[in-house]
Amino acid sequence: MLRYILKRLLIMIATLWIIITVTFVLMISIPGSPFNSEGSSNATVQANLEKHYHLDEPYYIQYLLYLKSIVTLELGPSIKQPDQTVNDLLGRGFPISFELGILTIAVAVISGITLGIFAALRHNGVIDYVAMGLAVLGISVPNFILATLLIQKVAVDWDLLPVATWSSPAHMILPILALATGPMAIIARLTRSTMLEVLTQDYIKMARAKGLSPWKIIIKHALRNALMPIVTIMGTLLAGILTGTFVIEKIFAIPGMGKYFVESINQRDYPVIMGTTVFYSAFLIFMLFLVDIAYGILDPRIKVHKRGGE
């Protein structure tokens, strides 16, 4: 197990290093200099930039200093908002985005697994068809379109729920719904297909032959095995939810990190874009690492032979 964790850790560091390096290379290869575009003629901004990026040094020194600044979590200043650093923006926006993300994951996982189980138990029944129909729709409709529809119908036409900002639980319902539907659909489909496969296994028959109750068989014997493929796609789902917060926060005017990020893209605020990208990547890669560890804990076999090629 320790060897396994160590190996994942090394891979994680390598991935991070690649991202940081790519970011640096892209930054210095921006035509002209990203740091004297029109809006940034402000003297204090210019001074901050030069100080942070050591623009007077040769590239390799710049690169090493850049690596150092990332390791010490100094993500750089903003061009467009003087006296603001990426750290300031993250400090304000990230807690909100994190809350949105966590709630979304909770909703998606709980409802997705429940839907998947019921669909599998009623294989080829009405519930199965309805659930899987909804799931295909959930996968097909992009979250920003769903968000717009929800605002238009639920908030504007029917006036049921408030939108914009992140001030009360009622405000959170629609953004979470818009963001959770896609991952929920994916989880539901995967749960269903793995449940169907697991339910035909001999150990399920054996559990039935022991005279255990159906729910005990499903929860204790089937679900645990059916969860493993879901754990493996968690990383991809998390990445999807994280990028999803960009558009959802933009549409619902939620003052989270995603909204700042999209604004910085539209204003071409390069240091903010890069700092945020590196931060988000590090966050996601760390999550992926946690997912791998969780997989190792869930599957006792992994201590002996590691996860195979597929």
Binding site: M12, L149, T243
Partner: protein
């Protein structure tokens, strides 16, 4: 003891004619009969795909979409990107089937134009993924040993990179264009395909029929062409069908956050983004058409992919 057949039988033992005991009907060869006509793998798969109604719905939709994407902008009397402010926000009518948008442009024309962009981006990105994925995964799986270990490490490291974030970064730096979007999408997109191909190749290369042709002295290139590729095609095709909607979604998403394809091109994501402000004013058609086509195209690819997965899996032969 009596069985159902006996009770239903019209003969009681005493009524059975004696000659039934003399006539032998000896022909053991007829016992073995072929239970179904032999079809090739692909014929069989196609037959099963046709039976899947949802998959066929998806396929027909995609064919129609491809036709409209080709001829739609040509048959329409309107240009895709010419502004006509006096005709701003007209609801669907005989002149403008899908209405007009905030700049008075014909939504019908722009929708088919957007279909071109989306299908082009999706297909090209999927093709590039497949090409790199097959080569990388094929070599890694076939060679095995150290080569495989090194190549797999590279994949594991790249797998952790959040592709959409890198894509955003690339687009910001290189500037949004069709080419940049495709490069950005494929730079990490091939990794999933390579993993699948490798897994398949590893499995198949140890099967007896591959070992058999090896023992006859077949060259590696021949084994790869004749044995491995045809048998890995199923999962590859499925993965490809499912990676097209991912690319379409990514393109729409990027357009939506302001990194989309620029004028004079019109993509569905750009149209949806432009329509956002108008929806509350009741100009529903400006959003409805691009939104419907993004969703339905993804739906079509998804159900087609599911159908292909079922059809191409030999284990599911009935």
């Amino acid at each position: 003891m009596k069985t159902a057949e006996e009770m239903n039988s019209t003969h009681s033992p005493t009524e059975i004619p004696d000659e039934w005991f003399t006539n032998k009907i000896k022909d053991t060869d007829t016992a073995e009969s072929v239970s179904r006509p032999s079809l090739s793998y692909w014929q069989d798969a196609w037959r099963r795909l046709v039976k899947n109604k949802m998959a066929m719905l998806g396929l027909v939709f995609l064919i129609l979409l491809a036709i409209m994407a080709t001829i739609g902008p040509i048959v329409s009397p309107y240009a895709v990107n010419v502004q006509n402010l006096p005709e701003q926000y007209q609801s669907p009518s005989i002149e403008h089937w899908f209405g007009t948008d905030n700049a008075g442009r014909d939504v019908f024309t722009r929708t088919w134009y957007g279909a071109r962009i989306s299908l082009f981006v999706g297909l090209v990105a999927a093709l590039i993924d497949v090409t790199i994925g097959i080569i990388w995964g094929g070599i890694s799986g076939y060679k095995g040993g150290r080569t495989d270990t090194v190549m797999m490490r590279v994949i594991e490291i790249l797998y952790g990179i959040p592709s959409l974030l890198v894509t955003i970064l690339l687009l910001v730096v290189l500037g949004p264009s069709l080419l940049t979007i495709i490069i950005a999408l494929t730079i990490t997109g091939w990794v999933g395909m390579a993993r699948i191909v490798r897994g398949q190749v590893m499995q198949i290369k140890n099967y007896e029929y591959v070992l058999a042709s090896k023992s006859f002295g077949a060259k590696d290139s021949r084994i790869i062409r004749k044995n491995l590729l045809p048998n890995t095609m199923g999962p590859i095709i499925v993965q490809m069908t499912l990676s097209v909607p991912t690319a379409i979604f990514a393109e729409a998403f990027l357009s939506f956050i302001g990194l989309g394809i620029q004028a004079p091109f019109a993509s569905w994501g750009v149209m949806a983004n432009d329509a956002l402000g108008a929806i509350t004013s009741g100009y529903w058609w400006t959003l409805f058409f691009p939104a419907f086509f993004i969703s339905f195209t993804m739906f079509a690819f998804n159900v087609l992919g599911d159908g292909l997965q079922d059809a191409l899996d030999p284990k599911l032969r009935k």
